[in-house]
């Protein structure tokens, strides 16, 4: 396809994507999707959270993983930004800190694809101020 310019082009892509999605086993319901939340407050953005969010959107799509990528605010881990919360279907969310592209790639390849934990997990009981 040539250059994308209008919502009509977007509609075409959507229809193609839907055909692809239907072929996937888990891709149909939101509960079957991997949820990735990138912390996107001032601290996150200043540490490079936006390119990391771009990376997840591009790579999860290219690697054919059914996922939703959204944003959260500051979780209080400003020292460890960019932070990313990943929730696999039916599991507790895990928060990763200091996520650069290398770690993001590991998160996709090891954690999202195989459920293996990777370095950089922020323990859930870490104390927030206040």
């Amino acid at each position: 396809m040539g250059k994308l310019k209008s919502l009509a082009d977007l509609k075409k892509i959507r229809e193609e994507a839907r055909t692809r999605l239907d072929l996937r086993v888990k891709g149909d319901s939101p509960e079957g999707l991997v949820q990735v939340k990138v912390a996107m407050a001032t601290c996150g953005i200043a540490s490079g959270a936006k390119p990391i969010m771009d990376f997840f959107v591009d790579e999860l799509d290219k690697r054919g993983i059914g996922a939703i990528v959204t944003q959260t605010g500051c979780m209080g881990y400003c020292y460890a930004e960019p932070t990313v919360e990943v929730q696999l279907p039916g599991q507790e969310p895990v928060v990763y800190g200091f996520v650069d592209k290398k770690r993001a790639d590991e998160i996709i390849e090891k954690y999202i694809k195989n459920g293996e934990l990777v370095d950089g997990i922020i323990p859930v009981n870490y104390e927030k101020i206040d």
Binding site: L10, A41, C43, A46, V69, C74, G76, K128, I129
Partner: protein, 183 residues
């Protein structure tokens, strides 16, 4: 922040936290009159006068997860460094408008940056909020909104990763067209 697009991403989070369900974002470039304007106008809960005044104090924040709030102070600093200003208009129940102006040709004005990606991510990550983005260049305007995308493609499409990536491309193609001024 190194890009105006990142300020947009940042300030829009304030609107989201304020419970807005409509956020109007606009960027207006006018090199001929040396002005670059960015406004974010939401229908969130708004602020009273005291909060509005404190909003530019980095030691003030409405958050409880940390003690500083740098988003608006950093935007104000960048606006002032390039000979512009940031103005916040707000009232409880009336929403908030943040308008920042910059000197278009000023060396200290941050570049626009990846505004297409920022808007595409904001739209897809917040499907319940109608985000209306308008970009104008020397008076030629282009705009896109969550509402029109949902009308055309349905709600579930907004969070689809392939759609997000294509949306970014559509925004960027259209902006390239309106900003492609003839010298």
């Amino acid at each position: 922040m190194k890009e105006i697009a990142l300020h947009i991403m940042d300030i829009a989070q304030n609107s989201i936290r304020a419970g807005a369900d409509e956020i109007m974002i606009s960027v207006s470039e006018a090199p001929s009159s040396d002005t670059f304007t960015m406004t974010i106008n939401d229908n969130g809960k708004g602020m009273d006068e005291e909060t509005r005044r404190k909003a530019t104090d980095p030691w003030f924040t409405s958050r409880t997860t940390r003690r500083v709030g740098m988003g608006l102070p950093l935007l104000q600093m960048n606006a002032r460094l390039s000979g512009g200003e940031m103005i916040i208009t707000s009232a409880p129940g009336q929403g908030t408008k943040v308008a920042a102006t910059f000197g278009y040709h000023h060396l200290d004005r941050p570049p626009l940056g990846d505004v297409s990606g920022t808007i595409a991510l904001l739209i897809s990550a917040n499907p319940a909020i109608n985000i209306i983005y308008t970009h104008s260049f020397e008076g030629t305007e282009w705009s896109i909104s969550t509402a029109e995308i949902i009308e055309e493609l349905g709600l579930e499409a907004v969070t689809d990763l392939t759609i997000v990536r294509s949306l970014k491309e559509i925004i960027s193609e259209n902006l390239a067209e309106i900003t492609n001024f003839k010298a």
